[in-house]
Structure formats: C-alpha cells, structure tokens
Amino acid sequence: MSASVKKSPPMTTAHKWLVLDTNVWIFGLREPPDRPACVKVLQRLPRLHAHVPRQILLELRANLTRDEMDRLFRLLNRYPERIQIHWEKVEPALIHKYQQLGCKLGDAAVAAHVEALRVDVLVSENRDFLAEIKGLPFQVFSAEEVLRELGEIEEASKE
C-alpha cells in the first residue's frame, strides 16, 4: 500500500480517516428514500477525510459506466488532500488473516485494505459486515452513525 498514508488526530469523525463501503457510494447515488444518510455523507465528503481503496474502486467500476466513473473521479480529484484514491493491492497475508477469521474473500479484501491504510472507520450499510470479528483495528459505522457523530443527523432526516 502507499507509504504516504496520512493520519490525523482522531478527535471526531470529521477528523478521522474513513473508508466508505461500496453500498454507501451506491445508495448515495441511487438515493433510495430509506437511505438519506448515504446521500448526506457523499455531500459532506469535502469536509471529511476519506480513502478509496482498490477493492471499493473495482466494485464501483463494476457498477458504474466509464462515463459515470470519469465524472466521479473528476469530483473526487477536487479534494486530493481529503479524498485519496488507492489502486494498490493489499498484502495477501492480510487478506488471509481475515479469511481465517471467517470472512469471504471479497469482505476480507475490504477489511484488509481498511487495516492496511490504517483507517479509523469503515462506513457501511451492511450491519452484519464484520460484526462477528473481535478486535478489529477499525470501527464500523453506518452512514447515519457518521452523521450523528458530525451532529448532522437531525438535519439529514429533514432533507
């Protein structure tokens, strides 16, 4: 992984580095009525610190067209210090660690990327994702929980 991964003092979610799971990106773009927090989290990206690791990028590429991906990258590239894109693969040993803990390969890849990037919080709408694994080196929050930490949950539910 990149040696230039940055860390900030984790005071609040606004200052922590996040990884948004693919479901947050996709629901944020699809805008289903029962996932308003995902829309809000994407809108708040310029105020957050987010890494986008390879596994998430590949999944987004499988869901979006080339043109849609280009548009997304143009947006993300406006904030290179706050939104960092990582095409590097992760060490297979780290993947194996999560597989040994019971993760399927894809889930293990996501968890391994998050750990390798030394990210504080994985934001996912999958409540069961990694729920059974003890001692994770990162927290798993829903989009709504992130907004709550940011003090924006009431605002989000109104919109």
Binding site: I26, E31, Q55, A62, E68, L75, R78, A109
Partner: protein
C-alpha cells in the same frame, strides 16, 4: 445567472477580509462539488431507470453488491 454582474460580485468579495474570502471560496467549492454529485446521481438513476433497476429494493441492491464483491476479489487475490 444572477442580479449582480461578475465584476460587481468580485468587488464585493474583495471587500471581505482574508478569512471571510477563504470561507466563501471553500463554500463555493463545496456547493460546486455537491452540484456535480447531484448531476452524476441523476445520470446514474436515469440509466438504472432505463435498465428497469431503479425500483430495486435495498435488500436486492445489497445482494447484488455482495455478488459483485465476490466476483471482483478473485481477480486480485486467489480464493
């Protein structure tokens, strides 16, 4: 576009102190980002509607994303 011309707007902004100008430019950049995101989301939803996928339930979308995840990963890492 707006009642103020660009020149008049620039004159007004130039009267702000540096901190206010920075906050203003940051807010403009954020709004531009959000507009771009809204445009992308609209384009994406239009495509999904054409493909008959826009009304998929959240659970169906989650299942599809999980399937894609497990299809993508073996390209990088052997199972």
């Amino acid at each position: 576009m707006m009642s103020l011309s660009i020149d008049k707007l620039a004159e007004q902004i130039a009267t702000l102190d540096r901190t206010e100008q920075e906050a203003l430019f940051e807010r403009v950049a954020e709004l531009t980002f959000q507009r771009g995101l809204e445009t992308l989301a609209r384009q994406y939803r239009e495509r999904l509607a054409q493909e008959g996928k826009l009304d998929q339930k959240v659970e169906e979308v989650m299942a599809e994303l999980e399937r894609v995840r497990e299809e993508v990963a073996p390209h990088d890492y052997r199972a």
